[in-house]
């Protein structure tokens, strides 16, 4: 099985036997390029905002909520347990349980499934989940040497002992350090992983650029058609509250294929094909879901957007093709749901890089991949472009790490409803070689 480990949960082929987890409502903020609309807002601010608005729109008494699971990927020193801070900072009853999760770009999927697990275990019946990130608020660090010196000085008793540790430092150690985006295990940047996959799989620049263009065209069309109106709240950001933002500001409304060709490769100047144009940008934003057990939703009179059918997580060696998580997690989730890829009406895959999406779609269709890597006789399945990332993806809409999963869930469920119900797949790759796949169903 290629050194992967899979975690799986699902209702099997007989839905209805057990209580289902309903996604009653979902909401996200507009996604904004790093340091733009939300320059003065932290992930916590964004998270509070979207959770409060979700509860208000759901017209739910906050006291009905049992659990809040939330996440952020860029760590915050001020609010290590962002979930609890959201409970305490939105006027929700203080006795609501809250914990924070982290699974890189699949963080908010993890938040959702963790809450679902608690529901299936009978521990709670109403939960709010989601994630938020603000690159506008990346904490600066100090060098190891300086940190050690401060710690030593703090425990020292005399003035001279307090000063001594600092004398040993070099000037370089006094400078602040921007936390590295490199994988701690491989020392590679995410983009370098995508670059490696593109080269080894032989995916050209044109193919990647065309995919990015497609993402922007579809996202712009969706915004123009009002597809997102119900999914995205308006935000009036501080400090002046005079520049409301109602739509994602990353989407190019005037995308042309030629524009992509002009960009320099971002990670390998000489031979690279991965550019800022065919990658997802650094983005600020937040999202939240309201989950209930099916019976609770019915008791409170809600008509859910849809239900969680099954899910699976996978992990691969980050030193190999790190971003192949979707191809490993998806077959397991489909199996748990008792369905085939061709049964799905909507598929949404997180677009970290165009190269990563293309690699994964090829793997989905490949019998060889299935045999070599998954130990299966059949390929996962050929993806129908008309059901795939129908309203664009992270390249065009932006990618606030911990909010993207929630965005995908919301969009898949709304799209399923528009198509008259059916089955959907939400899948994402994540740093560290992780992958997630969620099968959703919407009533017809």
């Amino acid at each position: 099985m290629g050194g992967k480990k899979v975690a799986v949960n699902g209702n099997g082929s007989a839905p209805g036997k057990r209580e289902r987890v309903a996604i009653v409502k979902g909401l996200r903020t507009p996604f904004a390029r790093q340091g733009s609309a939300y320059a003065h807002m932290s992930a916590l601010d964004l998270g509070r905002l979207v959770v409060r608005e979700l509860l208000a729109r759901a017209e739910l008494q906050p006291s009905e909520v049992d659990l809040l699971v939330y996440g952020q990927v860029v760590p915050s020193v001020e609010a290590p347990n962002i979930a609890r801070e959201i409970v305490l900072g939105t006027g929700m009853p203080k006795d609501i349980q809250a914990f924070s999760v982290s699974r890189a770009c699949a963080t908010s999927l993890q938040a959702m499934t963790s809450a679902a697990e608690a529901m299936l275990a009978g521990q709670c019946s109403v939960a709010v989940t989601g994630g938020a990130d603000s690159m506008s608020e990346v904490p600066l660090m100090f060098s190891r040497g300086l940190s050690r010196a401060v710690a030593e000085a703090r425990s020292a008793q005399t003035l001279s002992a307090k000063v001594r540790p600092f004398a040993k430092l070099s000037w370089r150690e006094l400078l602040p350090v921007v936390p590295s985006a490199r994988e701690p295990s491989t020392g590679l940047l995410m983009g370098e992983c995508a670059e490696k996959m593109a080269k080894e799989a032989g995916i050209g620049r044109e193919e990647q650029d065309a995919f990015a263009h497609r993402s922007h065209v579809r996202a712009a069309r969706a915004w123009d058609a009002g597809v997102f109106a119900e999914e995205v709240m308006h935000v009036i950001p501080p400090p002046d509250f005079d520049r409301p933002i109602a739509a994602d500001n990353v989407v190019r409304r005037d995308s042309t294929p030629e524009a992509y060709a002009k960009l320099e490769p971002a990670f390998d100047r000489a031979y690279g094909t991965v550019t800022a144009g065919n990658s997802s940008p650094l983005t600020d934003g937040a999202g939240a879901l309201l989950l209930m057990t099916e019976s609770k939703a019915r008791a409170l009179g809600y008509e859910p957007l849809g239900y969680l059918r099954s899910w699976a997580y996978a992990a691969v060696d980050p030193g190999g093709w790190m971003l192949m998580g979707p191809s490993y997690a998806t077959p397991t989730a489909l199996e748990a749901a008792g369905v085939k890829l061709k049964d799905l009406d909507v598929i949404d895959m997180h677009e970290a890089f165009a190269a990563q999406v293309i690699c994964n779609t090829k793997a989905f269709a490949s019998k060889k991949f299935a045999a070599d890597r998954l130990g299966r006789t059949e390929a996962i399945g050929e993806i129908d472009p008309e059901r795939f990332n129908v309203h664009g993806g992270s390249i065009a809409l932006g990618h606030p790490f911990a909010a993207t999963g929630t965005r995908i869930i919301i969009t898949v469920l709304h799209e399923l409803r528009r198509r008259g119900g059916g089955l959907g797949l939400a899948t994402a790759c994540a740093a560290g070689g992780l992958g997630a796949a969620i099968v959703l169903e919407a009533p017809s």
Binding site: R52, E53, A56, E59, L60, T90, G91, R243, P244
Partner: protein, 723 residues
Amino acid sequence: MSSALVVESERLDARVLSFDLRRDGIAVVSLEARRDKHNAITPALCAQLVGAIERAEQDPSVAGVVLASARTGFVECTNADVLKAIKFATDAERFAREVSRAFARIAALRKPVVAAVHGPAFGGGFELALAAHAVVASDHPKTSFALPEVRLGLIPAGNGVLRVAQRAGLRAAIDLATTGKPVGVLSARRAGLVDDVCPQAILLEAAARRAKALVGRGPPPTDRRDGLARLVEENPIARALVFQRARRHVRARTHGHCPAAERILDVLERYASRGFEAAAELEAKIFGEVVVSETAHRLIEVFFATRELAKDRGMSELAEPRPVQNAVLVGGGRIGSGVAHASVSAGVAVRLKEEDDARAGLAMKSVRRLVEEVCGAGAETALERQRTIALLSVTADVSGMRTADIVIEAVPETLALKQTVLRDVERLIESTCVYASTTCSISIAQIAQAASRPDRVLGMHYFHPVSKVELVEIVRADKTEPWAVATAVALARRQRKTPVVVKDGPGFFTTRIMTPLLVEAALLVGEGASIESVDSALLDWGFPLGPLQVIDDVGLEMSLHIAQLLHAAFPERIALPMAIDKLLAAGRRGRTSGRGFHRYESLAGAREARKSVDADVYAVLGVAPTTRLPVEEIQMRCALALVNEAVRCVGDGVVRSPRDADLAAILGLGFPRFRGGPMRYVDAIGAAETLRRVQSYADRFGERWRPAPLLVQMAKKGERFYP
């Protein structure tokens, strides 16, 4: 203090303090008035305090004393009931000396006395704590200190002002005593008025430990002023300047209507030049004088009336208020955002609906500014502010209304719009949700014609600026159910407002009585009185703003609109002010447009536009400001226009009592507090004299001055509003 009074109080609060000797030699003297919710400084307390101090002095096993309170607050007031009963200056003077003597005994005890303060220590309570050798206070947000006597037209009588000056300097004493404002624990500690701060759970222990530490070391030095204050205060010239400035400030604030504040400065000046004893002597004498002054009587009456009103249901029916957790505000203008702020500050989650994101953003910004501006006496932290703001969400659609317990509508003042909003919102809310309109003039019954459930529709008339004006007029229409009224009253109280329930009708109470005053002011200008002369006459009479200034602030369109509305209801009594018409025709719409009766220039950096005299206005009005009317005539015509209409409202049952009328006028319209309100004012000059004056204007100006029937009747029978 007459001896009969002393005897009676002693009988009533037989024991007001306990004496408890601990094993470590610390005697805990604990105040515990049984009769009252709050401890108060009474002759009985003073006598027992002296007894306890004597016992501590003589008992060799007592090493030190801790003064504490067994009540939730330390001591909240000097007993106003006692003060009310005082008829003669000499009695009051004797009371002051008695209190001072008791406190002096504490200060002079040769064993350490430490006050342990938790909760409000106001007035005599603060003075008592200051008499101790050290003060330890709890860090509870409710713990605060004040010398509020000036607000009752009195001066502190227990040498507290002098002790503040001793410990913290003249500047602090002047601030505390002339404003009556409370200070929180942290500022009190910074100023040197409190020696230590600790959690309430260990307060008694901390105080006892401090007392033990002081045993045998003599009282600690009382002077805790910083170097600069000492330097200034010991220099006679600098000192004179400090007092000069203080007097100017007090004058500017009170227009000479608060003699007590000025007398406090006399006491402090005496202290600075001739020392504690001489100043204490003067203090007792002045206290005697001010207690029997008219000003103090009126202010004490208002104080009691406010206290009574705070317990009033506002109706004869018994009804339980529904709990309010969620409020929806429709409209986020200056009233809407003010109410939103008052609500989130009360812990109510608010969903504010505006027309679009831009307006919603403005509303959000003004609520946030209010939260940041208005800080309580306690040490309000950035975290608390953040929590308060987090209770507000804004929207441009109609989502999130179903969970509302009350909807407060604050859209512009037109009937059609208010009815449309009511119709739209009513479909979205539960049957237990109260619907309140903030209209200041449109009849609630009229608005409620659009309602399918008019029984839960009422008015909650807030005043601009909401964060400063205490009054909320709760307007009850014929069909409004008692539970809806009770819910609105309870919410207003949580918002730290004073609700007065009035009957529905044109202009309710406040708008109906204010309009004749404003119209009269505009008519005076039409007769050729200058704008400044009208405004300053009323400022001198004790209103916080001149009437023409008020019209500019409210906006000329709005003012005219209200006048027209009341004219339609009472055509013979409410004249239409042509002056406003003419100014509007010339594009002068009030403060917001930069011009009205005055000119307003917004200056860079300043939040408030600067007001200036605008001579061009007379050309627009077609008059020359040459008529020199006597100040008294301006004052009387404006004030009596209001008073006469207010008497009519009492007669018509628009307000439930003269007390409600007085408080509504004082708290909502800025009627001079020291005059006690329009009804007290009639009582003070007599119904017959009031009638004579109104009648004389009726003779000159005709129908609009026709005396209120109730006034005529009272004059005939020689009746009063209050016994």
